[in-house]
Symmetry: C2
């Protein structure tokens, strides 16, 4: 099952609502990049509120997605990072530097709109 990607104006919304396995994460990466290209989206919000646990592979894929999206001209905001996920990320040495974050989907979208100057 692939992760649904919603288009809202010039932004894409993704809400990951179950734990990602490696295969799904890679498919998601591919799907998102394809969708950015197809829709000419200038911003992406990835909401991971429902993720309680993250491993180094998934963290890497997420980080990669952000950088790849930048190359396609889309800014990415990751929202809803749970305390436990933040702890794991830092313990894994992943600081998500240069990645915009926000508490929830709504503030993520707002942040993105400010960044995009809408």
């Amino acid at each position: 099952m692939r992760i649904p990607i919603l288009k809202l104006g010039n932004c894409l919304l993704v809400s990951i609502q179950w734990e990602l396995d490696d295969q799904t994460a890679l498919e998601f990466q591919e799907d998102l990049l394809k969708k950015i290209y197809e829709t000419n989206a200038s911003g992406v919000v990835i909401d991971i509120t429902s993720i309680d646990f993250i491993d180094s592979f998934i963290a890497k894929v997420l980080g990669d997605v952000v950088n790849m999206s930048k190359m396609l001209g889309a800014k990415v905001v990751i929202t809803g990072i749970q305390p436990a996920v933040a702890i794991t990320l830092i313990e894994l040495g992943i600081t998500m530097e240069g990645v915009m974050t926000a508490l929830d989907l709504e503030s993520g979208l707002e942040k993105l709109k400010q960044e995009l100057g809408d």
Copy 2:
């Protein structure tokens, strides 16, 4: 796999991106009503752009969801009804009377906000 339901302000967003089987449709009905209750949402947009085919059972479930949501105090807009789906619905005798519809997610959200007087 359950259909993700996103919360955006006082609205819920659902994008159905694959054909619904009967079981998934019923689970979706249950999940959505639970989420409306939990989040106290006043509006719901259900985007069915990716659905090319609809049968009488799914159509009934969708119609029921709209009426049930109304009982919980949430207005529903269905967006992205494909021409083929509209044809099937009318041929099945389902006119979706009283259901707000819009072409895409964005105009659906706008319609909803107008209705809610935001």
